[in-house]
Amino acid sequence: MSRQYETVIGLEVHVELATKTKIFCACSTEFGGAPNTHTCPVCTGMPGALPVLNRQVVEYAIAVGLATNCTINQCCKFDRKNYFYPDNPQNYQISQLYEPICRDGYVEIDTPSGTKKIGIHEIHMEEDAGKLMHDEWEDCSLVDFNRSGVPLIEIVSEPDMRDAKEVIAYLDKLRLIIQYLGASDCKLQEGSMRADVNLSVRETGSTRLGTRTEMKNLNSFKAITRAIEGERERQIELLEMGKAVVQETRRWDDNKESSYAMRSKEDAQDYRYFPEPDLVPVWISDEWLAQIRARQPELRTQKLIRYKKEFDIPDYDAQIITSAKKMADLFEATTAICKKPKKVSNWLMVETMRLMKEHEMEAEELTFSPKHLAELIELTDKGAINSSVAKEVFEKIFLEDIDPLQYVEEHGLKTVHDESVLRTVVEKVIEENPQSVADYRGGKEKAMGFLVGQTMKAMKGKANPAAVNQMLKELLMVGI
């Protein structure tokens, strides 16, 4: 290839907000109810029903806007987006076009060449649609309006990203911010965070944007990465062949690792947007804005600084712990109880991470209580249990959130500190393993390890390995 190409990427990210009720009615947003059980005249588009805006939706949208350095539009308005589809009960979606709630923000991402700002064009609020289900047996389609009216925000970035790594870094950043705010759980797989990728290519050095395509149906970071790489190649190939890129919407098929055109610009619908007459403009007073600002939780960047200062843990630890809100919450809560930040950090970074990987879990799915981890740390520190027992107990805490004190007691896992008991066992081990004893005395240090192991085994793990070591040395010396 003679020419060099640059990829230009902008993202439209939909995030489902974590409100208890829908955006325009009092129906529950809970997932998984029987079809059409979380519905009312409003979210099923009954004649005469009217929308009433959920205040919490506005507060979440503002919180996200503030955390992404946006200007808050203190008089924002809703518009109707008109299109016919059976999952859309009114045949229009209430969204924001002319006066969205947030504009002109940015987030910073880390790239190999340093920190980079990714611009946010706007954030707007809108309602989700219902879900269509196709009944193969009856050869008909059914619609479930439980999701209809679930609140969404759409975060529209500027075309500031240049490769898949930047896209993932941007999405990761957004996800973390929104999770920290508690505004959404942002799960790509479950659809509570959805990203559409707008991508074009141009010759390196050119400042004009190429014709872009929009890619939909990207359900994981992996799919996004593959889709970006695939689409970049497809577009370059077209240009190299002297063909033009067609402005169109494409659907990614992750199984086939390829995309196909859904609709071109010519087929693009005219949504006939106009101001929603059933809703009044949303006036966001200075006071309200100040209240929301004051309530903003500490975000990751602030936490990183504080952790180093307040807990004196290494930067590496702080990075890992703050990479998920849930992890940071666990860290802070556990540390508050046991006052041993480094030990808490170790448990989270080593054993917790290992078990999460083993059980394919996300940090958000962790259920154990900080109190139990703190107690476990106490038990270990007091020498009441040794580290291998501690790991075993922790796995129980991780999976079932058991009470470690009770568990250790019930299962008799406490380290035996009675010296006479240990002496008896060690004497027996020495007696039963003359070869190893001879080896040790002959200068083979390895034999000591074996003897310690035998003692631990005889003690059913309830001994302090250091004490065992000490006792063995003592007795073997005496024997000389």
Binding site: P41, V143, D270, R272, P277
Partner: protein
């Protein structure tokens, strides 16, 4: 004289005084419906069984002292665009044929709390689009003063039913004059309240930013009492306004001394029928005689009200009516292949010509490339009209105007020229664009024997001034019953 010839408040008093029961009143209403409605066709749905059952319950409530208000046990008819739980609500359209709502409109709930007995649902122009009640899928309603004439529209069924004494009072809705104009044509009184005064929750929308529910009755006193009952702040309607003055009946005072009445010259020029003009100017003199101060003024911009109105109303309608698609409720075409054809055929067969015309008009003005030139310009015009009224109300308490350029036209005359029909809305639509309250009340009879109505407009939230002025005028004349009742027709 029938109980139905009494005003709603008079009948309500008799019921409270135990002179008659709610059941007797309802029975008389049904007797009158049976007598009149085959000729007039005011009603789409008559719920005799439900109403009589309800009347019995209300009567019990009255006896237990639960219902004490002036409307308890008094029979009412509702325009068929107001949702009534379990009772067919059609908007006079094939597309909502047999549709039974799952909930009741807020204004109707308020009436029920006042002890109203609902007789059934009144005919109207399809989806309230029309000025004659001729666009109804269920057939035309005839004017009880002359069966060859229209009752006006779109609340023609409600107004004709009140005039023909098929009910004591009715509810209508007014988007561009749909309460005031048929009230004038049928010789009854109707109020279009300030936008936001009566909850729109459960009113099947035509144009959301203009629609208001209001009362139709024999006189101002009834209208005030009904408005008092239906008006409320409703958190379910985001455009609902919290008011402190729902006690509209306190304005039933015979006193216009010093009341400043503005007479917009532009409303009395070319196009206004001479007899109508004469009658209204005569009414102005009567009010002057009672102590009001009259002054002519220019209310220009009114000529732009019609195009602005038809753009805004059609645009909103094109979107509001999108939900009628055959998927969830209402009419679905019998045979179709695939989703697209199901939509297309259901809507083509389900909607009438006038509704389709406005959906197309509305879709056009919202299309990309036309939005700024039409819709945005219409919104700006709307704002200018509001400003013009604001200036007028700095000088006047009320504005006196005609309701329509003529008395009721003959059947079929209007529909063949839609533009002409749209133009006849000239005196009423500005109030909707500006959100103002208006009252229409009878002020004379023309040489054809048809009633003439006059209109009083007030500033936002000034219904009481309107009621006071209208009441004072009304006391100077006697209510004239329609000819259908006198056996002339």
């Amino acid at each position: 004289m029938s109980l139905m010839s009494l005003t709603a408040v008079e009948l309500g008093k008799k019921i409270q005084a135990k002179e008659v029961t709610a059941v007797e009143a309802a029975r008389e209403a049904f007797l009158q419906i049976e007598r009149m409605d085959s000729k007039l066709h005011c009603m789409i749905t008559v719920d005799k069984e439900g109403a009589l059952e309800r009347a019995e319950k209300v009567q019990e409530g009255i006896e237990k002292g639960f219902f004490k208000g002036p409307l308890a046990g008094v029979p009412v008819v509702l325009k068929d665009n107001l949702c009534t739980k379990g009772m067919q609500t059609t908007c006079a359209s094939k597309i909502l044929y047999h549709f039974k709502p799952t909930y009741t409109a807020e204004a109707v709930k308020n009436l029920e709390q006042a002890g109203a007995v609902i007789l059934g649902k009144a005919n109207m122009d399809e989806f309230a689009m029309g000025s004659t009640t001729e666009t109804s899928f269920f057939g035309v309603t005839k004017n009880p003063w002359n069966l060859e004439h229209v009752p006006g529209g779109s609340s023609g069924g409600s107004c004709a039913a009140v005039a023909a004494e098929e009910c004591s009072y009715a509810l209508g809705s007014d988007t561009g004059g749909s309460i005031r104009q048929p009230s004038a044509y049928c010789g009854v009184t109707g109020i279009k309240p300030t936008y936001g005064t009566v909850s729109r929750y459960g009113l099947i929308a035509y144009a959301s930013s203009l629609d208001q529910i209001g009362p139709v009755a024999k006189d101002v006193g009834d209208c005030a009492a009904v408005l008092e009952a239906i008006a409320s702040y409703d958190p379910k309607d985001s455009t609902s306004v919290k008011r402190k003055d729902y006690d509209f009946t306190t304005a039933l005072v015979e006193d216009v001394k010093g009341l400043r009445i503005g007479i917009p010259k532009d409303y009395f020029g070319v196009g206004l029928d001479a007899e109508v003009r004469e009658s209204i100017l005569q009414a102005a003199k009567v009010l002057e005689g009672q102590g009001a101060v009259l002054e002519e003024f220019d209310l220009s911009l009114v000529e732009y009200a019609i195009p602005a109105y038809y753009i805004i109303a059609s645009a909103e309608a094109s979107s509001n009516l999108a939900r009628f698609d055959g998927v969830k409720y209402g009419y679905r075409t019998k045979e179709y292949e695939g989703l697209h054809q199901m939509y297309k055929k259901s809507r083509s067969e389900g909607f009438g010509a006038e509704v389709k015309r406005r959906i197309m008009l509305g879709s056009f003005v919202l299309s990309s490339g036309y939005y700024d030139a039409y819709y945005l310009k219409a919104l700006k015009t709307k704002a200018l009209i509001k400003q013009a009224f604001d200036r007028a109300f700095e000088r006047y308490d009320v504005i006196l105007a005609p309701v329509a350029p003529t008395t009721a036209p003959k059947l079929k005359e209007s529909l063949c020229d839609p533009i002409q029909m749209y133009l006849s809305d000239i005196y009423t639509i500005a109030a909707n664009l500006a959100g103002l309250p208006g009252i229409s009340l009878p002020c004379g009879i023309d040489s054809k024997g048809l009633p003439i109505g006059m209109q009083l407009l007030g500033d936002c939230f000034q219904e009481k001034k309107l009621i006071r002025a209208a009441y004072t005028f009304e006391r100077t004349r006697t209510y004239e019953r329609c000819k259908a009742l006198k056996g002339v027709l």
